[in-house]
Amino acid sequence: MAQRTPLFEQHQAAGARIVDFAGWEMPVRYGSQIDEHHAVRRDAGMFDVSHMTVVDLAGDRVREYLQYLLANDVGRLRTAGKALYTCMLNEDGGVIDDLIVYFLDDTHYRVVVNAATRDKDLAWIGEHAKVFGVGVTERDDLAMIAVQGPQARERAVGCLPPAIADAARDLKPFSAAAHGEVFVGRTGYTGEDGFEIILPGDDAPALWQALSAAGVTPCGLGARDTLRLEAGLNLYGQDMDESTSPLESGLGWTIAWEPVDRDFIGRQALEQQKADGAPYRFTGLLLEGRGVLRAHQTVITVDGEEGEITSGTFSPTLERSIALARVPVGTGERCEVEIRGRRLPVRCVRPPFVRNGEIKINLD
């Protein structure tokens, strides 16, 4: 039986095309997926991301626990509400999941993990929490709405409970404020400014309707995928998984090597890989001509070596096809992608493709 978020009825009433996503019935688009994409780049759009898993962690040793569990270092979080993007690795340095962790106070943190990896994440988090005496509470009573776009914060602030509106307005990027069970983070997955609002499921439909009345466009998972790809943001299960390390996935920047005496799960394997030199690197690709790059297409270098596209799509902002790919370390700027038996020229570019409404790569 597929699960539904507290906003399912809103999606149905809006005529959304519903698809199964990791066991959840989610809206893939309401009308035009391309219009939804542009709404976020140019104005404000909202996404129901209530299928994501919110987990609260509590205990006297919770910081020490997270410093061991996560490849990025929560020791860097010193202000209440500050957030950190990180990978959670296995002993081999493979990525179990990517997540956002919020520092609430010295004995409380909140993490948000992917819906598709919920079961294994909870098992892994729980197994290690026991050792540190950390309490793990899955918050399946909460919903989450992401409001994204250049006008997102302005439109959303007026829809928030008055007690949190001022704090939300003043939030710095990658930090959060809370009042009661309403939690507002200035974070997102689109390359635009905005909020991710976590709140009790029962209160979510009223907020959704208020945001809609304030001119925020409902957007489906389809637009969410093209937006994150343009922003050069990885998707777990496509761009990285347990068989790939952050070093081969363009996520080396999320590993906190310092302090050198911090032992975290996967550190030894990553250090070995760093010393040996990873055989692959992660890159953005721009298709020179017509067509659409897709996951699992083969990338062929000038020397005849092969790589693979991990995510590909048509970019509504660029009106060209773009991709993220894992390619041999020696790959030059020009290479080819095989699409249905034909080889088409592509150019390696450094993501993001688009950020804050601006094209960030050279299209010529």
Binding site: R17, V28, R29, S32, Q33, I34, G222, D225, T226, R290, G291, V292, R294, T313, F314, P316, S321, R340
Partner: protein, 129 residues
Amino acid sequence: MSDIPGDLRYTKSHEWVRQDDDDRVTVGITDHAQGALGELVYVELPEVGMELSAGDACAVVESVKAASDVYAPLEGVVVEVNDALADRPELVNEQPYDDGWIMRLEQVDEDELAGLLDADTYLETLEDE
């Protein structure tokens, strides 16, 4: 509800066929198919002169989300393709039965054409989906 013109023939894989002449037909994808795919951003057309058998994958329509094959509804030779789709793939969304056509086939067999689904039967297959 999607549009299913009564004067066309259909396949279960959502192509439509219009008889233009004794042995010549136009082929496209149905309104239901374009609606399910969403906005098309690329169409890969067959080569003129290709000899097709019924069921051959002969074109590809790509939406933002995914690529889907278009199958030859019946045997024939490709005599014309809709080159306008190279610049304007969205014509398939806007006018699936008119300017959004995909290819024209000749040397088709009238009995094979008559054996394709009529509009009512195609509608029933949609209701079963």
